[in-house]
């Protein structure tokens, strides 16, 4: 039997709930105004969770402690956890002091919300930072004009391939877009899928590299940055040109490209199932050590020589919370992290395919790294990557649009309209 008396009870409960929610709503969304304590070591929250990178960070922190001017405590969390929790860290009552993250648009987004510590003093007092390139300087400056970031290392993107395989197939690095298409034809005739891609599984973002590169080759880095910031539309004719050009090479893509994550695509590349892959140097971490010497890369072919040469070279580094209670210790730590010695320690401990931001620091010295340095130095403009130039929130819209394009290239019109609509929701949020 209805022992409920649901009607009246629910009404009263509803009223009570409405009143309480209004009160409670304030609690969950408020940014705390507390500061972290001023005692104890500087807390460094790191997302570099791969065992090698983690060990390298531990070496770095130990070296800092040995110097004696201060102590730092390293806290490593899984990369994906760090990404979802970063807003919570920054807004919590007792935030970590220093964080590993990326400069540019993503750091600027937090700086605009007054969550990042002003680092002008570090930049002006550190002899190392004074010698960093102009590009790095502007990358680490927020839109307010203040420095909020200290860079650590950077890596680059390129078309990677296996030297021995190219020799076996009798092909060599292309110099222009037409050369590139010829190369693809030749590889296809040998039964190899010319272009590998690993945009399946949990790594759909790999496809964005193609979008980025075609955009900066056809429309230039300036247009690309503006597009990602919301100043242009995804259904503009310029963006359409990018996809028209992409259709030219689409037949040469590995048909399994969207079904496998990039680690498996690396395996396919090294086994000779695919010819080359547009990927960043981090992919060398997924390669067996015996193959490392055999890896080489070439620049994404130039399409329009009138467009200033741009390359993707994402920078990693550190920023600090504005509500840290250990301001001076944080400054000291960041000054150390910008030195050549610190960056060399990190590079030695990690896989060695990254380049230090400090102009005096030595890199791993391999032929690949030397070529990479020249490759990046030759560029007039540097972009970071889709999610780093826009925001992590915009990346899934690109993933959806690009995987759909790779499967159904004819529906490009509808795909771009949907992409614009999804992106607007993010830009207007």
């Amino acid at each position: 039997m209805a022992n409920f008396q649901t009607g009246r009870r629910r009404f009263l409960a509803g009223l009570g709930a409405a009143g309480t929610t209004a009160l409670l709503g304030g609690c969950v969304t408020s940014t705390s105004s507390g500061k972290s304590s001023s005692k104890g070591p500087v807390t460094l929250q790191s997302n570099l969770s791969a065992p090698q990178a983690k060990a390298a960070m531990e070496d770095l922190v130990a070296a800092y402690g040995k110097k004696g001017s201060g102590k730092a405590g390293l806290n490593t969390v899984a990369a994906e956890t760090f990404r979802t929790q970063l807003p919570t860290y920054l807004t919590s009552a007792n935030p970590p002091d220093v964080y590993t993250w990326y400069p540019g648009s993503v750091a600027n987004a937090y700086a605009k919300k007054n969550l990042l510590l002003d680092l002008d003093e570090v930049w002006s007092s550190s002899p190392d930072l004074k010698r960093y390139t102009k590009a790095l300087n502007s990358l680490c400056t927020a839109s307010s004009g203040k420095k909020v970031f200290v860079p650590n290392t950077y890596y680059w993107w390129g078309m990677f391939y296996r030297k021995s395989h190219f020799a076996k197939w009798g092909v060599s690095e292309p110099k222009s877009w037409d050369d590139f298409l010829d190369l693809c034809d030749k590889l296809k005739s040998k039964g190899v899928a010319p272009i590998g891609l690993g945009a399946g599984g949990n790594t759909p973002w790999v496809a964005s590299a193609w979008f980025d590169y075609l955009d900066i080759r056809i429309n230039g880095a300036q247009y690309h940055r503006e597009l990602l910031a919301g100043k242009h539309r995804f259904d503009d004719p310029e963006v359409r040109k990018v996809f028209d050009r992409w259709q030219e090479v689409l037949p040469y893509f590995d048909p399994n490209g969207v079904a496998i994550p990039f680690q498996d695509a690396t395996t396919a590349l090294l086994n000779g199932h695919t010819g080359m892959m547009l990927i960043g140097t981090f992919f060398a971490d997924a390669a067996p050590k015996s193959a490392l010497d055999d890896i080489d890369f070439f620049r994404f072919p130039v399409i329009d020589s009138k467009v200033p040469l741009a390359e993707e070279a994402p920078v990693d580094g550190y920023f600090a919370s504005v509500r840290t209670g250990r301001r001076d210790q944080v400054f000291d730590l960041l000054r150390y992290l910008a030195t050549a010695e610190a960056q060399e320690i990190y590079i030695k401990g990690s896989s060695g395919t990254v380049l230090p931001c400090n102009p005096d620091a030595k890199d791993a010295g391999t032929a690949l790294v030397k070529k990479g340095r020249k490759h990046v130095d030759a560029a007039a403009e540097i972009t970071q990557f889709f999610n780093r130039d826009s925001s992590d929130a915009l990346q899934p819209t690109a993933d959806t649009a690009l995987t759909k394009f790779l499967a159904k290239p004819k529906s490009i019109g509808g795909i771009l309209t949907d992409w614009q609509r999804d992106a607007e929701k993010i830009w207007n949020a």
Binding site: C27, A50, P51, N75, E80, Q263, T266, T267
Partner: protein
């Protein structure tokens, strides 16, 4: 006699049939886990060169050591146990108490209360993540293991109350009446009569809740921040890098992480067996 021997043969055939059927089912079920085991015994270069689905071409036990030491699983396992054991005990105790009260007594609004408690479990936990982390900060227990224990208890108790209520409802009223006539108070009825009769359910729920709390990831990530306090599930995903993950070490870590829950299940499933006789009184 021929009748007996036919019956015996039929029984043997039935047993053989059972083992064949159940065995095939078990093997099918265990195949993916076998794949994890095989992966945990391969070297990283082997997987990188040949892919995950290929036949193994290497054998190494080093992954377990790496997961245990480098992956911090030793400390993480201790953290997991420190959280799980108290949680299971307290949650089931509270749930049994509440289910007892709601099912054996004529409390006003008891059905609504039951639905209310269950309702807490109908919420997708993901949406509670940010409010809970802010709440734990407010109380001052953020980044401590007691916070995780508290969250797990609060979030789990509604469900267990509901399940135990279902089991307790089926106990006949006569048993309780007899005890009241004999002069037992509510505590004695609870402790001496109802609780033993719900033992299969409690054993089942202990095994299940141990599994869930031990394997939980979301709440751990939400209320904990230091890597020294993370339980084993979080330590496991910590083995995944920014771009590249060492699948062999992760597989080894998963095997280590699964061991305690398997042990608990094997221990407790005997108690599903220790049936109950509804006809007994005290």
């Amino acid at each position: 006699m021929s009748a007996n021997s036919t019956a015996l043969r039929r029984k043997r055939a039935a047993t053989a049939g059972f083992h064949l059927g159940a065995g095939a089912l078990a093997v099918l079920w265990l195949l993916p886990i076998a794949l994890v085991l095989v992966t945990s015994l391969r070297s990283f270069d082997d997987i990188a060169a040949h892919g995950l689905g290929s036949w193994p071409q290497s054998f190494t036990l080093g992954n377990f050591h790496q997961a245990w030491v480098d992956g911090g699983q030793q400390r993480a396992l201790i953290n997991s146990l420190l959280v799980t054991v108290p949680c299971v005990l307290v949650t089931l105790a509270l749930a049994a108490m509440a289910a007892f009260g709601l099912s054996r007594y004529e409390l006003p609004f008891r059905r609504s209360l039951l639905l209310l408690m269950l309702g807490g479990n109908l919420l997708p936990p993901q949406i509670l993540l940010i409010p809970v982390s802010k709440l734990s900060e407010l109380i001052g227990v953020f980044d401590t293991l007691p916070a995780l224990i508290g969250v797990q208890i609060g979030f789990g108790v509604g469900f267990y109350v509901f399940v135990l209520h279902g089991f307790m409802r089926s106990i006949p009223v006569e048993i309780q009446q007899a005890a009241v006539v004999d002069g037992a108070g509510p505590w004695q009825i609870f402790w001496r009569i109802i609780l033993p009769l719900t033992r299969p359910a409690l054993a089942a729920l202990s095994a299940l809740s141990f599994t869930w709390i031990f394997n939980d990831l979301l709440w751990a990530i939400t209320v904990l921040r230091s890597d020294t306090k993370m339980p084993i599930t979080a330590a496991l995903i910590g083995l995944q890098g920014q771009y590249v993950s060492m699948w062999n070490v992760i597989a080894a870590g998963s095997v280590i992480a699964a061991a305690p829950t398997v042990a608990v299940f094997l221990r407790f499933q005997r108690h599903f067996v220790a049936g109950l006789n509804l006809g007994a009184v005290k």
